[in-house]
Symmetry: C3
Subunit: 353 residues, 3 copies
């Protein structure tokens, strides 16, 4: 029936993306106290700034900010129907910057600009690079990040309509950090309530922190999470169709792993309360329900923020593994990640000085 095909979106293919095109994504979203509670229930995050109005206000926030990674998921989720419904793989992130805190009651919307296109050597798919921008109801940018995905061609083998690679930084520079964090009143920052006595100056490049705890993931949990973000990627929800797929079962949204690992990282990084930037990230291997996630962090770099004496930045590698406790395991064997690694995330966190 012709009416049917025209009204239902089956997503964009490689040919459907034009360089410089700006896509307005559907379904703006008011973030509520309900979203925040669900995020806590899904990951168990314990950073005091995002958990207690009184703590946040004491140190200088007008109100308890929404967890940065939840903001990321909501902004990201909107891009899925337009960008990655026909994605074969989510290849990477770069230059992600959290530019303004989000509070309960804010309404988020997302646009994406196509900033790069590159077909694969086989010619049956191509890499699409987008810069996605999340804005609040005042049209202020709260998050900006680049992402690239491998997308099927509608007509495999046809020549690429355009090719161009974007210029993306290896990491966000320290002078670009901090816009998403108000001035912090260090005198009011209570280490006991925060749950850690280690501040920015106590961490040094090269230090590795095992986050100890493990958490097993259930189908209902990742489905609830991924729907909360209004992320519609089929691979996360349809076990019936998945039977015929490569893995034979539902795949867990990669962002779910980021949130699990970030929540686990509280044990050892309890004062790393703000994710200021995401430099890059790789979903090294898929995660499935029944797997148990562990995490460890490595301090890659420590940096002052120009003109600020309240907070400092740590560039962290956050590694999540499955069914393999983090302590002491290597990350790679030569060029290859060791078996069990599922996430290798490179981000900047801010801590009180």
């Amino acid at each position: 029936m012709p009416g049917s095909m025209s009204k239902t979106s089956s997503g964009r293919f490689f040919e459907d993306f034009d360089l410089g095109e700006v896509i307005v994504h559907a379904t703006p979203r008011t973030v509520t106290a309900g979203d925040v509670a669900l995020y806590t229930a899904l990951y168990g995050s314990r950073f005091a700034v995002q958990s207690a109005e009184s703590f946040a206000q004491a140190i200088g926030y007008p109100a308890m900010p929404v967890d940065d990674v939840l903001v990321f998921h909501i902004v990201f989720g909107k891009t899925v129907p337009d960008v990655s419904l026909n994605a074969v793989a989510n290849l990477g992130y770069a230059d992600g910057r959290f530019l303004r805190p989000v509070f309960v009651g804010d309404t988020l919307a997302t646009t994406s600009e196509v900033i790069g296109l590159k077909q694969t050597s086989s010619g049956d798919a191509g890499i699409v690079y987008v810069r996605s921008i999340g804005r609040n109801q005042h049209h202020e940018i709260v998050l900006s990040y680049a992402r690239w995905v491998l997308v099927r061609k509608r007509h495999p083998g046809t020549p690429a309509h355009a090719e161009q690679l974007p210029d993306l930084p290896v990491a966000v520079l320290p002078e670009e950090l901090g816009e998403g964090c108000p001035p912090i009143d260090l005198a009011a920052y209570d280490d006991a309530l925060a749950g850690s006595r280690f501040r920015w100056g106590d961490y040094a490049a090269g230090e590795r922190i095992d986050h100890v705890d493990g958490v097993t993931v259930e189908e209902a949990e990742h489905q609830l999470a991924t729907r909360l973000y209004q992320n519609t990627a089929r691979v996360h929800f349809d076990a019936h169709a998945a039977k015929g797929s490569r893995f034979g079962k539902r795949l867990i949204y990669g962002g779910h792993v980021i949130s699990l690992a970030r929540a686990l990282s509280f044990n050892g990084l309890g004062n790393a309360f703000h994710v200021a930037a995401i430099n890059g990230g790789r979903h090294v291997a898929p995660l499935f329900a029944g797997d148990t996630v562990y995490a460890w962090s490595e301090v890659l770099e420590s940096a002052e923020l120009p003109g600020r004496s309240d907070v400092g930045a740590l560039r962290l590698r956050l590694v999540a593994t499955k069914n393999l406790s983090g302590a002491g395991n290597p990350l790679k064997d030569g060029e290859r990640y060791v078996e069990g690694v599922v996430l290798d995330l490179d981000y900047w966190a801010l801590l009180p000085r």
Copy 2:
């Protein structure tokens, strides 16, 4: 112990319903942002009107309205302990009208009037017809619907104490629609943010829309949902007792299927933002955890609303199937539904013109 039996409710039997009796159901419920977030997490609905305060206010709502089907579940849930605890089957719905938007902070309560009674030919059970009415804290009716269930007799074989069939319409008339929808400012209705460029006039009777996506249901999900609605029907929760039942496992609340199918229908009906009326519905077959739900819609009728040029109505058949992708399958084989159909719902949706 006699004290025990008198204090615990084991529900009403057929003999316990009197024609014309009005039952005041327990536990009024304040709808919160938490309920709304959970509803999103459970179904992934993406209608912009219910998702974004800014979108709702731009087009004429005082605030983001609560999803109509969530309102239905909350109003319905209260009736279960009094009406259907001893129900053998939930047979049908008719004349369901959403008469006023519900907003976060409203408190809903439900009453049911017994409008019909009819014993089965075997004499061991009977059909009870009720008109259930949900009201907000100002005693304004937000939802009114008729429902009939097959209820066991306390004393099988005894004659019916009363019999009378109610007069129920096949469908709500177009002139009865729209009370639950304020005047919509069409100039402010943004198709890109709404996620669909198809408005009321783009749909025609006879058109069938396959909603493409599928979602697998987990025990934890339907239990969370059904408890959120304070629906206490035992068959949804007690796996131990279910071992000895006909299906050997927990049954999923039929309303859960309605919400899943309605959320899936966004893909193809993205502007059908308001459920104005439920004309009828059949839970054709039971759904169990592990099943994957798909959905398709058929436009049964298109109607103008008298005196309104902002919105138009589509009468839609919403069909949910399990483990059977929707595309192109017939609904029935002669008089019988084909294998795999679980829901056949007939409702009116409003769309911007």
Copy 3:
């Protein structure tokens, strides 16, 4: 790597607790409408006072209070990283008093004083007694309770550094009840909306009430709940590590059982709207996902509250069983609990007179 070990908390051992020490627990928590909705979805509680703003305000509350047991879980959760991460067993509770209602928007924080220490006869572990106190953002005490846990020694076999047993009451006295409950306007208390016509005077000591319904617990549910309370005890989350443990699988947080049983108890105790005190409690046997929980109550004592004619108190034994319907089963066979009992809780509830 030495940096790692110092920054990650592996919890306290028996030797790390000093008599009289006051521990400030991390992560104060603002209770939101999202927490309340999740609590409803997790347990299906139906007490009108906690469910409807209009009902609560009509009878004398300034707003809908947060469920007392949810308050308990939030206050309790904070103690886990400091008190029971290395606990072998959660042995008991005493003298728990709910001293002030908690409302949405309140921020809760917890401190614990070490009030007793006693090593085991084997010398490889010890019992730690703490008095935990939950306060709101105005530093008012909302909950105070004693708890004792069996904690491993860091160095098994070394002599105890201190030993002293606290003096704890068998039960909270009636004259200590009621601080957490404002004066109730009995004329405004609507039994139909509350869901029960039985008030305080209708119950008598010795009466046993079977709560009829059963609910099967899923892994996703207890994990969501336990994380919502920011309770980090590993045994609830890590299936991978649990494979090598005594039970071979994840254990369900004992508080989850309390909430399940309390919600089931609505059917028979619908007007027992306020938990005023917890006299004691034993988690008799562990609960696992897949188990079905039933509950019954016994009225142990009925008491007036000095100077109050609005509400009366019932001292209740709330027993939860697994895979064994409550009706008519004994609690104990001699000194031992019968197979299937998982919880034996002794608490005071208030009901309207």
